[in-house]
Amino acid sequence: MHGFTHWLLTAAMIATGSAAAAQPSGQTIANEGLGSDAAPCTSCHGADGGGNPAAGFPRLAGIGAPYLADQLDAFASGARDNAVMKPIAQALSDDQRRAVAEYYSGLPVPEQDSTDTDDIPAAGVELAEHGRWSDGLPACVQCHGPAGVGVGERFPPLAGQSATYIENQLRAWRNGKRPGGPMGLMAGVAAKLEEADLAPVARYFAAQSPTTDEADDHE
């Protein structure tokens, strides 16, 4: 190998190696936070990353790392407008955001008590499973998977997610308080939704079981 290149690579390894050694791991950030700058994630998102549905804190466990990292970046820049998350995300370095995103994406999805699916409003079922093509609106499940189990790393699971949280996010997109996501897809979707659509469809996904028997079979 060219002598200079070799020197460069070695220097790069030393530099990044020593930086990494000083970094708290994703797990440490999640459980302990960063001193007074950032509270532990677990204080709101639960010890197992399962969230707190009643309080509207979302589940993080098992959600794609690229998606989670994008969200932390958007909280930090303010593009995703959230007063609680903004200072926390800003306290994390780029690498720390990625580390904690990786950590949560690798956590198993916690079992959740099955909720009553009988009282899901029919309008929620219709929108989630069939969309509203007269307005050019595809079914939610076409991108988020059957019953919202999630597809790949970019289409997050909605099944078993907090209803309050889902509803708030849809509203945030409608009000331009959250970036539209890859290709602006969610901004486009939200623009076609009415206020009256939000609660029923959020209720549909909150009632679905977040765990699937066959997860991991098709990596």
């Binding site: 460069l8 790069a12 930086a19 595809p138 290709m183 486009g188 699937t212 028997d213 098709h218």
Partner: protein, 349 residues
């Protein structure tokens, strides 16, 4: 920590980045651009291709001007009955079965399917959507003469064709429940529609010829920016966390075969322009032509009419809009195609 370390990191990163940029630049220059052999087969000799002869019932039904929900004359497309209007009797049960076969063909008619597609993947909203070859517009147009097989086809035979080509499978035999159910479903969706009249919204609205001849390289850019997110970087689709196919494959062993209507660049361009990216249809005509050219320049299952020779098959069955038999990236399309109809039904998840 010494403050010299971060400085060093910055300097080193700068050098590395510069190196990468130089490398990318050289790669770009070296990229082959497999352009189409500009309309190699200049025209479709009558009766030699899957084009329809003049005056026959259309395989490409929609006329450019009248089709579509936003037709200039303000006419609204036909509206099929709502889902919950289905009668709760034996007829209703058969219709419901047809809807299930149509939307989840893998599960309800898997023995006749040789790829990962569902009927509804190309006929959106369960065959209800105007400009997505809706079933309600098809029902009243058969029996009809088809250039593809040069005789009059009834609706059942038309559907058998979809199984053979689009689904790369073995068609259900005449009289089979699966065919009956699909007919019942189509008939019901067409409740109140006129017979023998081409309805606005039928087929995929035909596009004008593109200004620039469709380009593989430009199409690849469109694919990467507008399609790969869902259909995967390799075009092979994606499965949901429960193992079900969420985004269907666009080429390869588990997609439509070389005899399917969608393999023709004009048909794919028309479908894509009206229906893709899903829920965000913003492509220009040129982009739709380019990306159609790109996705149809990859290998897929063989044409079921394969004669044993790519050249002869191309000449007998493939017109100017087909890429079959052309050479892309040094490989002849069709020459390495896996046999048609032999892929097993979707591997159980």
């Amino acid at each position: 920590m010494s403050s010299r370390i971060p400085l060093l990191t910055v300097a080193v990163s700068f050098f590395l980045l510069a190196g990468v940029l130089v490398w990318i630049a050289t790669q770009e220059r070296g990229r082959p651009s497999p352009e189409p052999r500009a309309t190699a087969q200049a025209s479709d000799a009558p009766g030699t291709s899957d084009e329809r002869p003049a005056g026959s019932a259309p395989d490409e039904p929609a006329s450019t001007t009248s089709a579509g929900p936003t037709a200039d004359d303000g006419s609204q497309p036909f509206t099929p009955p709502p889902r919950d209007a289905l009668p709760d009797d034996e007829f209703g049960a058969m219709v419901r079965k047809g809807e299930q076969v149509f939307t989840n063909t893998q599960e309800h008619a898997g023995q006749f399917v040789g790829n990962d597609l569902q009927c509804a993947n190309c006929h959106l909203d369960a065959g209800r959507l105007a400009d997505s070859a809706p079933l309600w517009a098809a029902w009243g147009e058969y029996p009809a003469f088809r250039g593809k097989n040069k005789h009059v086809n009834d609706f059942a035979e038309r559907i058998q064709g979809c199984f053979r080509y689009s689904m790369n499978g073995t068609p259900p035999p005449r009289g089979h429940d699966v065919l009956l159910a699909l007919q019942a479903y189509s008939y019901w969706l067409a409740s109140g529609a006129p017979v023998g009249e081409s309805l606005p919204g039928r087929g995929y609205p035909e596009l004008d010829e593109p200004e620039q001849s469709p380009s593989y390289a430009r199409g690849q850019d469109v694919f990467e920016s507008h399609c790969a997110l869902c259909h995967g970087d390799d075009g092979q689709g994606q499965r949901a966390a429960d193992g079900e196919i969420a985004f269907p494959p666009l080429w390869g062993l588990r997609s439509y075969n070389w005899g399917a209507g969608m393999h023709r660049v004009n048909t794919a361009a028309a479908f894509i322009k009206a229906n893709m990216p899903l829920g965000a249809t913003t492509l220009s005509d040129q982009q739709a032509w380019d990306v159609a050219r790109f996705i149809n320049s990859h290998e897929r299952p063989q044409d079921p009419r394969f004669t044993g020779s790519v050249e002869e098959t191309a000449e007998r069955f493939h017109g100017q809009y087909s890429t079959y038999g052309q050479t892309v990236d040094g490989r002849r399309l069709g020459a390495n195609a896996p046999p048609a109809g032999t892929a097993p039904a979707s591997p159980s998840p």
